[in-house]
């Protein structure tokens, strides 16, 4: 049972650094990929918080669809921020 809490704290602390990289990064494709990593960490957190239905929904939506839509948007507009 202790291992659950340790893994929860680890994934939450890792998500802080990944969110920081996603906000600061100027290349928007890298920012979208960091956002996908953040979604995967949150999905693992949902699994540890005893919400398996949210876990099963969030893996395709958060990691797949969000990233795919943002990548399509970047391809149709501009890639770098603040030019």
């Amino acid at each position: 049972m202790m291992l659950h809490y340790i893994l929860m704290a680890l994934s939450a602390l890792l998500s802080i650094s990944v969110v920081y990289l996603a906000i600061v990064e100027r290349d928007l494709i890298k920012a979208a990929i960091f956002s996908a990593v953040q979604s995967a960490l949150y999905a693992f957190l949902y699994y540890l918080l005893m919400a398996p239905d949210i876990f099963l929904t969030y893996i395709p939506v958060g990691v797949g669809l969000y990233t795919a839509l943002i990548l399509i948007l970047i391809k149709k507009t501009e890639r770098y921020e603040g030019e």
Binding site: M1, M2, H4, Y5, I6, M8, A9, A12, L13, S15, I16, V19, Y20, A22, I23, L28, A31, A32, S35, Q38, S39, Y42, L45, Y46, L49, M50, A51, P52, D53, I54, T57, Y58, V61, G62, L65, Y66, L69, I70, I72, L73, I74, K76, T77, E78, E81, G82, E83
Partner: protein, 131 residues
């Protein structure tokens, strides 16, 4: 020495740090696409906070809110009520994820139309345009 509440407090505090950073991304960063990415991170963090509200510490371990034995005998129901986490926030979050996807699609097409008309996604340049 209680270690498990300490680790759980780390989870809650890091979620608040994530809320602060994503709000910085929404309000300060100039690119519209970066604002959309920050908004998805913000909504994810709020959903996680709602699930954290429904979680609880049970002895020996919390179980997911799924009744396995049909029809449930009374001692199984008693153990289930003592150990299972709250299923109501999970149902609310399942709705919020789908609505967030629809909002993301709407913002994406608005940004695409702004880029087709004005030729930029920088809000500083868009605010300087006349007419």
């Amino acid at each position: 020495m209680e270690v498990e509440p300490f680790l759980f407090n780390i989870v809650v505090l890091s979620l608040f740090v994530n809320i602060a950073m994503s709000l910085y991304g929404v309000f300060v960063r100039p690119s519209l696409i970066k604002k959309i990415i920050s908004l998805t991170i913000f909504s994810d963090t709020i959903n996680t906070l709602v699930i954290v509200v429904g979680f609880r510490h049970a002895i020996p371990n919390p179980i997911p809110p799924v009744v396995i034995e049909i029809p449930p005998p009374p001692q199984y129901l008693r153990q289930f009520v003592l150990q299972a986490v709250d299923p109501l926030p999970q149902a609310l979050v399942l709705t919020a994820i789908v609505i967030g996807l629809a909002v993301l699609l709407f913002l994406m097409f608005t940004t695409l139309q702004i880029y087709r008309i004005y030729g930029t996604t920088d809000v500083r340049k868009i605010s300087r345009l006349r007419g």
